[in-house]
């Protein structure tokens, strides 16, 4: 097996000084290999989003080491973190987090533009992604006019734009009706089948079972379970 792409060692994170009794993550360690699709389950408030944010470099641990693809993320400054996110990470959120005043295509283009990709190349890639995700006809529309499932597919396209080694998703089906959720599940399953590394935070056990190669469960900021899984998408 290759070197782990995610290496988290003895990480602790507490939000509120007054809330010291309840850390969001407590002495947490985890390794994920490239190509793994990790589903993170756990009750509400157990620290799932906190873990994801630490991996994405959106937040810093109080203690411990977060090393992603060899980069010590916990040591990076704000500007370096921006570069790290733009090149290594693609993120999908529960509430899409699209820029409502840009068109679908412009939203998808931003990561490539930030990375300095040539215009022609970036547009080609955006078109390819939008086509592949079945939303090419909305390229000129604004996100506000799309359904939840469509918006989430735009978010996935944006996350994949720079072809990052690591895809993070925080409850990507959490805000969707069952039909849209199924679409997104299918899409993520397909990405996993391609061998993409994925960390997926979810309450949706169906989603975990369908996409993940490994499932962990958090309780009160600690690792409570860690099991292998054969994703249905791959099995099929």
């Amino acid at each position: 097996m290759s070197a782990p792409i995610i290496e988290i060692r003895d990480v602790s994170k507490t939000y509120d000084a007054s809330d010291a009794a309840r850390p969001a993550l407590a002495d947490f360690s985890l390794e994920v290999a490239a190509g793994e699709a990790l589903a993170v389950l756990g009750p509400s408030g157990s620290g799932k989003s906190t873990l994801l944010n630490l991996i994405a470099g959106l937040d810093r641990p109080d203690r411990g080491v977060v090393r992603i693809a060899g980069t010590p993320v916990h040591e990076l400054g704000e500007a370096a973190l921006a570069g790290y996110r733009r090149e290594r990470i693609g993120m999908v959120f529960q509430f899409f987090n699209l820029l409502d005043d840009l068109t679908v295509e412009d939203n998808v283009l931003i990561p490539a533009q930030l990375a300095g990709t040539g215009r022609v190349e970036a547009r080609e890639r955006a078109n390819e992604l939008l086509t592949r995700l079945g939303i090419a006809r909305f390229a000129r529309a604004y996100p506000g006019t799309l359904s939840g499932g469509q918006r989430q597919r735009v978010a996935v396209a944006r996350a994949l734009m720079n072809n990052p080694p690591l895809l993070l998703a925080d409850e990507p089906t959490g805000a969707l009706d069952s039909e849209s959720a199924a679409e997104v599940r299918e899409l993520l399953g397909a990405l996993v089948a391609e061998g993409r590394t994925l960390v997926l935070v979810t309450h949706d056990t169906g989603l975990a079972a369908q996409c993940a190669t490994r499932i962990i469960e958090l309780v009160d900021g600690r690792l409570a379970r860690d099991v292998r899984n054969t994703p249905l998408a791959v099995a099929r």
Binding site: N53, A56, L58, D59, E78, A79, A82, G83, R85, R86, E87, M91, F93, Q94, F95, F96, N97, L98, L99, D101, L102, D106, L109, I110, P111, Q113, L114, A115, G116, G118, R119, A122, R158
Partner: protein, 791 residues
């Protein structure tokens, strides 16, 4: 890095600018208004710095104009004065006459036949070696029967006509142009060949000579120069002279009057614009928290976020600045035109460097105001910005405000609204400051205009009463003009007293006499008869009540370094008359006013032209009937009656129009600030509003709630802003008056009577409500489903 058009930053900024229309509009309008006002105010400030000295140099002003008797000297003697030591330039001789014209039929404002003030006309070309005339309206003389009048100092407009009854054939002169003379050498200009036709039979025109001297910086130097010129002319040939120093003093005084008020308005406007720009940009940051979070999550660096938010502020600000420069220059044409007349200056317009400097300084200020919130945006923690469901909660402050407000005996929608501003204390405070400054501006502007008009009215008390009697016969009466004598005046006095409708009358004589121990002469106004009703506005002390008492304005008191209570001795040819100063009156002139009896010991010669009567009518008297009847009664004495017309004071007019424009601009900016704040608040609360509406809040209640949220802001701004505005008015007005060389009577400062105060106090509320109305309506109309769906 990335090529043009492929720049994500630019795209984000452009999207932010074009999709946040109201914010962009507010920023543009605010900057535009601030730049317009600054361009105007600073243009005037620059123009009021030594306008006279500049114009004097540009128009080759003359240091001295001397009137010489036409019968006593010949051209050779006048030419010889050019070689007097110290003379560096001369112009003339120009023939000159003092006309007593009448208004000719067909004038727009003045009734035909009314006597006009004595008018000294000079026959000369437009450009002399000295005192170039500068045509400001119409054109220079092109043919016979034409006259050009001094701009801003004459009652007639272009196309108006005057008749000269003393000259053979009653020639008529048509006003074809207005011109500025930097030295004020005449009351009108005609072609030299026109002079003979205007000369009354049996008289010879005088000659006007203009001089420049090597040394003419002080009254003493000019007096010495004048003496040197007079010395080479026959004794008694020099009739009178005008020094440029008088005109300079008047101009400097006028321009100095503008400065305090321009500075006050300028400072108010600048502060307010910065506040509003600050609140707009920081509002954009707060409203854009989630957006900032997204930008950072997908890889924007903090510096890029700062630049994006600066860009969003600077694009509309630059547009506004450019528009402001254009608008300021356009407005400057009428505004500075009026001001320049008051300043006796030449319209220079806005100096080009100001057109560059003002917008640059404004943009620098905008950058400064925007940098604080932009950096806050850059430093915003990504997770917090992105946290969904965890919508920003009102701080402890806001929460306690909500619980407190809910206990008020008001409908729930009102108490919800009242607590809103406390959720964002900083933004509410800045908005309140903007409304407060707006209230200060309105209070100051209104107070200034009212006081100025009161002062102007007080100043016009030098023409008391409703009717004036002038020492000229009525036109067309067939009575020949002649010099009025003392017997005529006595008879006229009795006739006026006997006239039904007369409530009071007083004979007013103007004379010049010396003050013992001081050089030069002073103007003394003698009142014969009961003058109590004709009193000028008193600044301190009282009006004189008996011979031997006198009053004087500030200019006299400071010129002679005397105070109310002192005694001044007037002297003439070895005779003297002591008068006790019993009061200070409101006037910008340097003169002494006293009972005519005080002057008896001086045995001053009667100057017939200088005597007038002022008459007050009994209530209910028809002035027109009174005047025609009195004119008939006075005709035998060579006198005529006319209504006392109020003078339009050009300086007051200039200030009124400026104050109006600047006040309107302040109000606009303050209103925009409120509009923006309420809009942001409403946007932020669109979800809460949706919840409330889904619970049954009616559209009208929604409007009420939003308006209630600004009512506190408006009321507090009114309560604090009005006193500050009054304080400002009470500081700036005396400073302006001081510059004009007078004191302001307390009565003219106390212009804020109760109804006006109430209106001003409510003004903040009105201003805030106006700014909030549009977003409130928008909030009420927003569809609940849309609001609830908004993440």
């Amino acid at each position: 890095m990335s090529r043009k058009g492929n720049n994500p930053l630019g795209r984000i900024v452009r999207a932010g600018v074009s999709r946040k229309r109201v914010q962009t509009l507010v920023m543009t309008l605010t900057t535009m208004t601030a730049v317009t006002a600054s361009v105007l105010a600073s243009g005037l400030l620059v123009d009021s710095q030594g306008p006279y000295q500049r114009a004097f140099a540009a128009e080759h002003g003359a240091h001295l104009s001397v009137d010489v008797s036409g019968t006593a000297v010949d051209a050779g003697q006048l030419a010889a004065t050019a070689h007097v030591a110290g003379v560096t330039g001369t112009a003339g001789p120009y023939p000159t006459l003092t006309l007593h014209p009448r208004v000719a039929p067909g004038n727009r404002f003045m009734p035909a036949g009314d006597p006009m003030e004595a008018t000294t006309v000079v026959g000369r070309p437009i450009d002399g070696p000295l005192d170039d005339l500068h045509v400001t309206e119409g054109h220079w003389l092109t043919g016979p029967g034409q006259i050009v009048l001094p701009d801003g100092h004459s009652p007639m407009a272009i196309g108006d006509r005057m008749v000269v009854p003393d000259a053979p054939g009653h020639p008529v002169l048509t006003v074809v142009g207005l011109a500025a003379s930097v030295t004020g050498t005449a009351d009108g200009w005609v072609a030299p060949q026109e002079i003979p036709a205007l000369t009354p039979p049996g008289t010879v025109p005088d000659e006007q000579m203009l001089y420049r001297f090597a040394h003419a910086d002080s009254q003493a130097e000019v007096a010495a120069d004048r003496a040197a010129v007079a010395a080479v002319l026959p004794a008694g040939a020099t009739l009178g002279s005008t020094s440029y120093l008088d005109a300079e003093q008047e101009a400097d005084r006028n321009s100095a009057t503008f400065v305090p008020f321009l500075v006050a308005f300028g400072a108010l406007g600048l502060f307010m614009s910065l506040l509003v720009i600050g609140v707009v940009v920081s509002g954009a940051v707060t409203a854009g928290r989630r957006r900032i979070g997204i930008l950072k999550a997908i890889g924007f660096s903090p510096a890029q976020v700062v630049r994006a938010y600066l860009g969003q502020a600077l694009i509309p600000a630059t547009t506004g600045a450019v528009l402001g420069v254009v608008l300021g220059n356009l407005l400057s044409i009428p505004v500075m035109g009026i001001a320049d007349k008051a300043l006796r200056s030449v319209t220079l317009g806005i100096p080009f460097w100001l057109d560059l400097a003002v917008p640059l300084v404004t943009l620098a200020a905008v950058t400064g105001a925007a940098l604080v919130p932009a950096r806050r945006a850059g430093g915003l923690r990504t997770v917090e910005a992105l946290a969904v469901g965890r919508t920003e909660q009102a701080g402890r402050f806001g929460r306690s405000a909500h619980s407190r407000a809910s206990r008020l005996p008001l409908p729930r929608w009102a108490t919800l609204g009242l607590a809103l501003p406390f959720g964002r204390p900083a933004r509410s405070a800045i908005t309140m400051a903007a409304v407060l400054l707006g209230t200060v501006g309105v209070t100051f502007g209104v107070g200034l205009a009212l006081s100025l008009n009161q002062v102007a009215q007080g100043l016009s008390h030098d023409r008391p009463g409703a009717v004036q009697v002038l020492p000229f016969p009525p036109l067309g009466s067939g009575v020949k003009a002649r010099l009025v004598n003392a017997a005529d005046l006595d008879a006229a006095g009795s006739a006026i007293a006997a006239q039904p409708g007369t409530a009071g009358s007083v004979e007013i004589t103007t004379a010049r006499t010396a003050v013992a121990g001081k050089p030069g002469q002073t103007q003394v106004i003698g009142y014969r008869g009961d003058s109590g009703w004709a009193s000028m506005q008193i600044v301190s002390g009282r009006w004189f009540a008996a011979p031997g008492e006198a009053v004087a304005p500030k200019a006299f008191l400071s010129a002679y370094d005397v105070h109310v209570g002192d005694t001044v001795t007037l002297s003439e040819n070895g005779r003297s008359a002591p008068v006790k100063l019993v009061g200070e009156v409101l006037s910008v002139d340097n003169e002494l006013l006293t009972d005519a009896g005080s002057l008896t010991p001086l045995a001053l010669p009667l100057v017939p032209d200088s005597v007038t009567f002022a008459i007050e009518l009994k209530p209910g008297t028809d002035p027109d009937a009174y005047i025609s009847s009195l004119t008939h009664a006075l005709a035998p004495y060579g006198l005529s009656a006319i209504p006392s017309g109020g003078n339009i004071n050009i300086t007051v007019l200039a200030m009124d129009s400026l104050a109006t424009i600047l006040t309107l601009m302040l109000v606009t900016v303050a209103g925009l600030g409120v509009l923006n704040t309420v809009l942001l608040d409403t946007r932020e609360r669109v979800h809460d509003l949706g919840v409330l509406k889904s619970l049954g809040l009616k559209p009208r209640q929604t409007v009420g709630m939003v308006l209630a949220s600004v009512s506190v802001t408006g009321l507090v701004a009114g309560a604090v802003g009005v006193p500050i505005g009054i304080l400002l008015q009470r500081t700036v007005l005396p400073a302006m008056a001081g510059a004009a060389g007078t004191e302001v009577p307390g009565a003219d400062l106390d212009v804020f009577h109760a109804p006006l105060l109430l209106a001003l106090l409510a003004g903040g509320l009105v201003l805030a409500t106006l700014g909030a109305l549009a977003p409130a309506t928008w909030a009420a109309r927003a569809r609940t489903a849309t609001a609830l769906r908004t993440e």
